[in-house]
Symmetry: C2
Subunit: 330 residues, 2 copies
DNA sequence: GCAACTTGTGGAAGCGCTTCCACGCTTCCT
DNA sequence: AGGAAGCGTGGAAGCGCTTCCACAAGTTGC
């Protein structure tokens, strides 16, 4: 058994003839090592855990595809942990914050509680965050503030002054902050143009298309409706688009809409949006994790920022309304 | 250790007081059993393998979400095996056709080689096929022939006589047969109306949007182009739609398009399509597998057929062209 | 009040690997 | 030719669980 193991693991301490004998025996018996036994003995499971809100965020799917691609040639299996609620999340973290469950952990689109992060670091479980920040661990993120700026600058350049914002609830149960950052970027640009985000034009709600549609309907029903809406995600932008259609407004003539993410749907909807490299974020995150696992050294807690880019499609256009808005011309 | 194990596994052979003592000790030490050791001892890994062409088919993502949902409350982890090529597939099967790698296997949207299926059955690894047929194993499928009929009947009822078909290559490397079955349904309905599928109007190619767009362009460039196109998947239908747009044809006035699947994209594209319950198929497949695992009896090789349904949206309309086509009026 | 049970507990074996250790064989130096 | 050194191999321990077995204690029946 010892020799067989040496052959399988490519130890040089084996005579060529013996190696050949073992290999033919393996072939004949169609022998395959039991990965569980191997893992138990080695103290590692050759498994990578991915914690991801697989349902709630369509962008998570695109990131996950990047992860899968990165893991492809590696000898690690991907174990998928879906998170549908914070309780769910905590359950998974409780199970995963030990080295014996997964060799490494990738947390996607989900702010991990600091407490769990600490446990992971002390348990020496390498962890990488994708689309989330966490102290002491490497993160792959996009600059949401810049993205918010990009979208807003585009709208302002088109002459829009009265801009609405639809985003996630700042008090959302998972503690997502991307939406708030995008709003910050939006407000910063407006301020630079001597404008401000009218609080009445800001609506928050759970990350959901129908809810966004409802929020957009509210905005459009205002006495002084916005001429443009910046939604903090494509999902929400699509909801806004649906609201406009339902109200008989044509886009972009009556209303401009910008989203964020550039999910696959968006190119069909011809949605102008801020693209973030979703696939690449998953790919990079998984690669960092693999690197840390190979090197047996904890991954350096670097924040990798991926570029954002405005993708101009058909849902934004010049402001042709005659309103003077609430702000002065920049 | 023996007693601790009994407590953890809920054996009744433990005095209440002892149980309490063990439980407080567990709490104090923050003890968690090592799943690898447990698996090795028990001979099972508490893991479900899902083999799926995660990239190539967007419908696979929807099915996968059903699987994840079904597994949610269970004590099984989901290990994702992405398949990008037949070699990939064989590699995974070679590894997975043993009980020690995964307790059960779900194969999605992928005809499994009969040889591998046999090995799985003899290795007593429960396996369920979703969106694929295989001898001797349970399958969750949709009736593709009926679906093809549905789509075609719709077009015929709208007065279309010259109908084009875009589908997968019958010789595709994975051996997908759904597309061919849909084509069969199409041809059957046409025959019933005294029509036939003009071989010139049938185009096959790899399952890809760009390629479908090109095939559709070919069809539309014909001297006698079709007035309607039935694409064997939404992905391909969307390609056809793009081709029509590129050629300046308006849909459905100049061309009707029907797809198949009803992926999320399709509602945005306002695509008329044949809906198959993607999420449900994954859910059912995973449920069957779990049942078989609990019962420790191999899953009965039943074919579960899920219903298809025509979803009429905005890409199909009455045939208003004046052509007399190649067939007679039904 | 002692045999024959029942109930609960600790200890040991075993799951299938890896790895360390010890031993036998070869080789080379003296 | 005899001993030191080195290479290759088989055997055993150990990874952390489960489960079987044996045994101590508590319970019933005569």
């Amino acid at each position: 058994m010892g020799t067989v193991s040496r052959v399988l693991n490519g130890s040089p301490q084996v005579r060529d003839e013996t190696r050949a004998r073992v290999l033919t025996a393996i072939e004949e018996l169609d022998y395959r090592p039991n990965p569980l036994a191997r893992g138990l003995s080695l103290g590692r499971s050759h498994t990578l855990g991915v914690v991801v809100p697989f349902f709630t965020h369509p962008s998570a799917v695109a990131r996950l595809q990047g992860v899968v691609a990165a893991l492809d040639g590696s000898r690690y299996d991907l174990v998928l942990f879906n998170v549908a609620s914070p309780a769910h999340r905590d359950e998974h973290f409780a199970a995963l914050t030990r080295r014996d469950r997964a060799d490494g952990l990738l947390v996607m689109s989900l702010p991990a509680p600091a407490h769990d992060l600490e446990r992971l670091v002390t348990s020496r479980v390498p962890v990488v965050l994708v689309d989330a920040y966490g102290p002491g661990v490497p993160c792959v993120v996009t600059d949401d503030v810049s993205g918010g700026r990009l979208a807003t600058e585009h709208l302002v350049a088109l002459g829009h002054r009265r801009i609405g914002f639809i985003g996630d609830d700042p008090e959302n149960p998972f503690g997502f902050v991307a939406s708030a950052a995008r709003q910050d970027g939006c407000e910063a640009v407006l301020a630079e143009h001597g404008l401000e985000l009218d609080p009445e034009l800001v609506r928050h709600g759970p990350h959901d298309r129908e809810i966004a549609e409802q929020l957009a309907t509210e905005l459009l029903s205002l006495p002084e409706p916005p001429t443009a809406i910046f939604a903090s995600s494509d999902v929400q932008a699509l909801g806004a688009l649906a609201a406009a259609t339902a109200q008989g407004r044509s886009v972009p003539a009556d209303l401009s809409v910008v989203g964020f993410d550039d999910i696959e749907l968006s190119s069909y909807a011809r949605l102008t949006t801020v693209r973030q490299p979703l696939f690449d974020s998953g790919f990079l995150g998984a690669s960092l994790l693999l690197e840390a696992l190979e090197g047996a050294t904890p991954p350096p807690p670097v924040v990798h920022e991926l570029p954002v880019e405005l993708v101009e499609r058909a849902t934004t256009g010049p402001n042709v309304t005659t309103e003077q808005g609430s702000g002065r011309r920049g």
